[in-house]
């Protein structure tokens, strides 16, 4: 058959049969038991490119994307402005269609991009080292927790309140059959004040999200110091690393491991994936890290170059004793993040961070003027905040959608449910005009 994905012609196939010494292709498959071959048929028609585009466009047009609405949905996935150059540069075929750079001489460009990515993540988080990416934030957290258990040989993992529920669920699934015990802490005053009496000698690590799921700033040097004094590791989870542009980096405050979700660095929302997990650590943990690491070295002429390194940690060499099973990672997403950060630079990234902060605080002040609306918490927040709207009208989300708004994340889906709760995120894309209109519609809808 002639098909664009199948370059061989029938004539070429015939010549190849002759070289191999077969009459028919079936001869190469005769090792497969005939009973299996007989049941292998399935009914699946083929579409040409035009028909395929039409079909997928129909599916796409059945959706109402957040990107076309005035959206205040965040809760772990954050829409930001993405420079056009990110897509153009990242989807060049040399990056897009290469694989893991097992042959370093042939893929110095990709290796250098990973080295630059590692450097940028390490600098932003204030850490010594970062790996070349993880699948996403939640799996990066789970791997960091496993690392902490193996490193400390302790069994208890304390999780601060306010961890993204996606991350919490993934952490539960990853640790269910290990010897680690997860303990989810309830919000109390003693959590934020030393001497961290919630810790004991079995505590392997403490997981703290900052800003937390509700946007609140909870991370302090005192807290991390108190954890260290008890011999436990601190793992800081960052769900929007744009916050690192203006907040003191967790590494500088004393965190042992900083992990998180870097989708905000130039990756589209794309219904939840592919995203980009990052994992950064103090150098003590270097040989315990999961995933690929790129290092700088020299060639036989003394010229600088880059290679995958410390591979004896990895599954293809260490097998069941590897630090992780990860093989494919999020390479292209890491390249996108590297391009994003190069374009934004320190000034641009801080502008983005401050714009989200200014917008969220403006929106907060306007919405809390509505009589039935109350703030859930009173801690300082970054670009997201939780409101108690009281009893929501039954068709609240539909009504707001009809008026052009995704009003935020419905906290009645949160566990435990906060009924009437709404979590709102304001990106730098929101304007004062949009927010004023939103407030007017909210007041109308809630009255």
């Amino acid at each position: 058959m002639g098909h664009p994905f199948l370059p061989l012609t029938d004539e070429e196939r015939r010549q190849m049969h002759k070289t191999i010494g077969i009459e028919r292709i079936e001869e190469l498959f005769k090792v497969i038991p005939s009973s299996i071959q007989e049941s292998a048929f399935f009914d699946l028609p083929a579409y040409n490119e035009t028909e395929t585009v039409k079909l997928f466009t129909q599916w796409a047009e059945m959706n109402t994307p957040a990107s076309k609405m005035v959206s205040f949905l965040g809760a772990g996935a954050y829409e930001h402005a993405i420079p056009a150059a990110v897509k153009h540069l990242a989807t060049q075929s040399e990056f897009l269609t290469a694989y893991t750079p097992y042959q370093p001489e042939m893929n110095q460009g990709i290796l250098q991009a990973f080295f630059e990515y590692q450097s940028l993540i390490a600098d932003l988080t204030g850490m010594d080292v970062a790996n070349a990416s993880m699948y996403d934030g939640p799996t990066a957290l789970a791997e960091a927790v496993l690392l902490a258990g193996n490193f400390t040989r302790r069994r208890e993992i304390l999780v601060f309140p306010g961890l993204n529920p996606e991350a919490q669920q993934v952490l539960e699934a990853y640790t269910r059959y290990t010897n680690l015990r997860l303990k989810f802490l309830s919000p109390t005053a003693e959590l934020t004040a030393p001497p961290a009496s919630f810790l004991n000698e079995q505590t392997a690590a403490v997981v703290i999200q900052n800003p937390d799921f509700f946007g609140q700033l909870v991370l302090t040097k005192e807290l991390l110091t108190a954890i260290k004094e008890k011999g436990a590791l601190s793992i800081v989870y960052v769900n929007d690393p744009i916050s690192l542009a203006i907040l003191e980096p967790p590494g500088t405050l004393g965190a042992d491991l900083v992990v998180g979700e870097a989708q905000a660095f130039g990756l589209p929302l794309s219904f939840g994936g592919p995203y980009l997990g990052f994992l950064a650590a103090q150098k003590t943990f270097l040989r315990s890290l999961p995933g690929r690491l790129v290092g700088k070295t020299t060639d036989l002429e003394g010229k600088e170059g880059f290679v995958l390194t410390l591979q004896t940690r990895e599954q293809h060499i260490r097998r069941e004793r590897a630090t992780s099973n990860i093989c494919s990672n999020q390479a292209l997403c890491a390249i996108m993040a590297t391009i994003y950060l190069s374009l934004l630079g320190p000034v641009g990234l801080q502008e983005v961070a401050w714009s989200t902060v200014r917008n969220s605080h403006y929106l907060f002040s306007q919405l809390t003027r509505i009589p039935s609306v109350k703030a859930y918490f009173d801690a300082p927040f970054f670009h997201e905040f939780a409101l108690d709207l009281g009893t929501l009208p039954p068709d609240f989300f539909t009504k707001m959608k009809e008026r052009g708004f995704f009003p935020g994340y419905d906290l009645s889906h949160y566990s435990p449910p906060l009924s009437g709760g709404l979590l709102l995120y304001t990106s730098e894309l929101r304007t004062k005009d949009e927010m004023d209109k939103f407030c007017a519609e909210m007041e109308d809808c809630l009255s």
Partner: protein
């Protein structure tokens, strides 16, 4: 490849004051920063990021691209990775605003097209593999293995089978198999490959006992050979109460010819970036959907997408589920591409994919075994493994040959894997080849054999045409420099 100097690192190229992008700036009434966020939380340490114009960033990444090599640049017979051609339309489809602009937590009514697509993709994967149900959550092949093993563990614990703590894995398996088993707390028992390159029931028998939770098997295996005794093997494992897991990395050999579900496998992961042409992206993102037979469906990750007369929904209320193994619903953007690839081929096209992939591999094997040692001399499936040069006196090893290939503009095959073959070169041409390309590869490989005999130094010092020569990997590991 031109031997130009390495592009300056972004940090070294930085010039204070340059801007690469102007983001939208908040237009709300100004408030002093300290009133928004308390000073104690704010950054005291300087923010070290490079400062570059868009033009400089563009030239930087273009020059990195020029020092990289993908499937679009040339032949990439990297065994076990299925480096097939990635059709251009796939990228465009995944970038449609109605897909790319979707927030994962939107109300179900606003994402019906996305849910319909995911549901259909699950059905198509089930059909192709002969499984009953699929999850699209796993991010990559190894992540699929982890998911499958969590499912096996959950099923065992529910049946009170706490003694079943061992997973059997052939010595030819991918390293991810034992690493994934260990992550779930299983012990790993290695089963030896027979002299014929496959698992023989007689060899397997001594490993079977009441502690066995299951067997992980790649079929065709990493030697490129179909496990001919598969029906006996899966029955043996089932008879002792175990599950059989299929590492689907090599599915490109059997599309339309055989279905793992019909072979008796209970679980399988797919590698969409291998079999279904989604770009490898320099090492990811991939996607590793997992399919199971009915008896394991209740353990699949939450949420499941379900179809009802009113539309598609997320179903969370599944008490037996292993929970979530990834944020949100998996690599949606990758799943779109894989489905679009499959639908452009249909059943006949998919079967032709495997026919051509197997034909191309056998063609190369036939011609290369004249000069290279072929340890398992039998028709192969979609890939085959050579064991160095036939000339046993040669000082040229597989690494030298691989580096020699680079100078001819070919990406080397997978080398030194599988571990059971000395000096292994694992060659997978895929179906995306022309006869001319295959012949030119054979010519190059024969030329390398000639060089090995007549000018071994030329290979010992290869590559010479690349931006850097052979790199000192020992130095990199001994004195790690992992950031600027």
């Amino acid at each position: 490849m031109k031997r130009k100097e390495r592009p300056t690192l972004l940090k070294e190229a930085s010039t204070p004051g340059r801007r690469g992008y102007l983001p939208p700036v908040s237009d709300v009434p100004p408030v002093p920063a300290g009133e928004l966020i308390p000073q104690s939380f704010l950054r005291q340490t300087a923010l070290a990021l490079p400062e570059l114009s868009e033009m400089e960033v563009t030239r930087h990444f273009n020059s990195l691209a020029q020092r990289s090599f993908g499937v679009d640049q040339g032949f990439y017979p990297l065994g076990s990775c299925t480096m097939k051609y990635n059709p251009k339309v796939l990228e465009e489809l995944s970038q449609l605003p109605g897909f790319q602009g979707l927030h994962p937590l939107q109300e179900e009514t606003t994402v019906q097209g996305a849910l319909a697509l995911l549901h259909y993709a699950e059905e198509v994967f089930s059909t192709i593999t002969g499984m009953d149900e699929f999850t699209l959550q796993p991010a990559a092949g190894a992540h699929g293995e982890l998911t499958g093993l969590l499912i096996i563990k959950a099923a065992l614990l529910e049946q009170g089978e706490t003694d079943r703590d061992t997973i059997l894995i052939p010595d030819s398996a991918h390293g991810t198999n034992p690493a994934s088993a260990a992550l779930v707390g299983f012990k790993v028992q290695t089963v030896p490959t027979s002299p014929a390159g496959i698992i023989e029931p007689e060899t397997l028998k001594p490993y079977l006992n009441s502690n066995v939770a299951g067997l992980m098997l790649t079929n065709p295996n990493t030697l490129g050979l179909f496990e001919e005794k598969i029906l006996t093997i899966t029955k043996m494992i089932h008879d002792i109460g175990g599950q059989v897991y299929c590492d689907g990395a090599n599915l490109n050999a059997i599309l339309g010819w055989a279905r793992p579900g019909d072979m008796g496998f209970d679980l399988i992961h797919l590698n969409l970036h291998k079999t279904f042409a989604t770009p490898h992206g320099g090492g990811g993102p991939g996607a590793g959907p997992v399919g199971v037979k009915k008896h394991l469906a209740k353990y699949l990750p939450i949420p499941r997408v379900v179809s009802t007369p009113e539309g598609w929904h997320w179903q969370y209320d599944l008490p037996h589920s292993i929970g979530k193994i990834k944020g949100y619903w998996g690599h949606f953007g990758v799943i779109i591409k894989a489905l679009a690839y499959i639908l452009q081929l249909g059943y006949a096209g998919l079967k032709q994919v495997s026919s051509d992939a197997v034909l191309a591999a056998n063609y190369l094997q036939t011609l290369l075994k004249e000069v290279y040692h072929l340890p398992y001399d039998t028709p192969c499936m979609h890939e085959f493994v050579l064991s160095g040069l036939r000339d046993e006196q040669s000082k040229i090893n597989t690494l030298d040959l691989a580096k020699g290939l680079i100078d001819f503009g070919v990406h080397p095959p997978t080398i030194y894997f599988p571990l059971i073959v000395p000096e292994a070169m694992m060659i997978e041409p895929t179906e995306a080849v022309t006869l001319e390309l295959l012949n030119s590869f054979v010519t190059i490989m024969k030329e390398l054999a000639r060089l090995a005999k007549e000018e071994p130094e030329a290979l010992k010092t290869a590559p010479r045409t690349t931006p850097v020569r052979r790199l000192n990997e020992a130095q990199a590991a001994r004195h790690p420099i992992l950031k600027w």
